[in-house]
Symmetry: C2
Subunit: 226 residues, 2 copies
DNA sequence: GCCGTAACGGTTGTATGCAATCTTGCTGCC
DNA sequence: GGCAGCAAGATTGCATACAACCGTTACGGC
């Protein structure tokens, strides 16, 4: 998964390991509350403890793990109320970003968003819902980046990862509506209409929240497929 | 090794270094855009490069520095619009936290907040405005923690640090009004009135924003690139 | 004189080793 | 039987050492 030293890529070990651990936390390979020993992680990803430790410091700042000196690093545990609050925070921040994105978006941003929208359209037509989750993440991330606020984009990314972790479930039911809403949002960006963009995103997030809540509780992995 | 930190504290080197670097960035000992070499930091804080590197990973996740592999670590540069957006984000998140704090606050939270309020009252009576900045930060941080949402508290802490960095300027003028507003907020928490708490904090932040803006972007160092 | 190129110094990235500390399981006592 | 205290093992924290890489500069060809 990591480690392609033979192929010559010897750089970026720390970042690669960080992404790998985050992935394994989000996908629940490591259970919440589980202790992560540096040595076992180092063995798992075929690196030494140093990049593992650095990756853990990043993940700790992001809230995926927490560590006590000399005691070790543990996968974070998220309560139900905390999970709810994550959705609440996203419901605040994404509309904020969308409002600014409508005012500041560049042609490049628009083009990227349209590309994602087009790809999603194809997947929808073909009934292949598998790749939609990734495109959905991309759309929201690009939207946040179009805001021109690096902090907003960073927050959206972090919250998105955490939400994907807690609510490890996709909502294929809503896919058609969801992407129709995405299209409207993009149109508001084209029109440079900040207020409409903000409200559309606010509604969009609100509906997604309701879907999440209906679909099931946090932590429990609902067996499903897209 | 010459670990002469404090009175023989041999643990927590990384966290100590992290806080020290953050402090030096916020207080502009290190200028925005400046390159930070690990060796010089290690020398400055009398540690080896390892804890320095780990501290830098944390600070990178927090957005105070950014680094490229093999190229080095640089103090971040914040544009004026980004600074504005920081205030906007705080204006979203703190009321959100206050609303929940009013519903979830414990007696311990109330007691801590009252303590801070009392201390500030004394300083105000004595005309000693020096320590107020710290108490102000404490009040807002405690308020965020009272929300019972770790993510909210973490965001408030991060945003607060960054705002203190960008707008490195205090506003003694507003001190009396500000603390009167703090007292009202605390009362709303006692009354367990979420809506009132949210609105009071929203107004409070809004007034602080105006004060910042009037004061000018004196603290904002326009990035000079080459 | 200009540009491509190769070597050098400086810096970052990773691995290893050892001391300090925590956790775990056991012992002995109540 | 349960719990405090302790020893052994396991794990973390930090320092040192070495390898990989980047930017710069001196050099030579054109």
């Amino acid at each position: 998964m990591v480690n392609e030293r033979g192929a010559g890529r010897r750089r970026d070990t720390t970042q690669t390991v960080c992404a790998a651990i985050r992935e394994d936390v989000v996908s629940r390979v490591f259970a919440p509350g589980e202790r992560l020993t540096e040595e076992s992680l180092a063995t798992r990803y075929r690196v030494s403890r140093v990049p593992v430790r650095e990756a853990l410091r990043t993940l700790e700042a992001e809230g995926f793990v927490h560590s006590r000196p000399y005691a070790g690093t543990f996968v974070a545990e998220i309560s139900e109320t905390e999970a709810e609050d994550l959705l609440g925070l996203r419901a605040l921040i994404e509309p904020f970003g969308a409002e600014r994105a409508a005012a500041r978006r560049s042609q490049l941003h628009l083009a990227r968003l349209e590309l994602v929208l087009a790809e999603a359209g194809e997947l929808l037509r073909d009934g292949r819902h598998a790749g939609l989750a990734r495109l959905n993440t991309s759309f929201h991330q690009l939207l946040a980046e179009a805001s021109g606020s690096p902090d907003t984009a960073a927050l959206v990314a972090q919250l998105g990862n955490k939400i994907a972790w807690v609510y490890s479930v996709e909502l294929p039911r809503r896919a058609n509506d969801s992407w129709r809403e995405h299209a409207e949002i993009l149109q508001a960006l084209r029109d440079q209409d900040p207020e409409r963009a903000r409200e559309l995103v606010a509604d969009h997030i609100r509906r997604a929240q309701q879907a999440y809540r209906l679909r099931g509780s946090k932590g429990v992995r609902t067996p499903q497929h897209g």
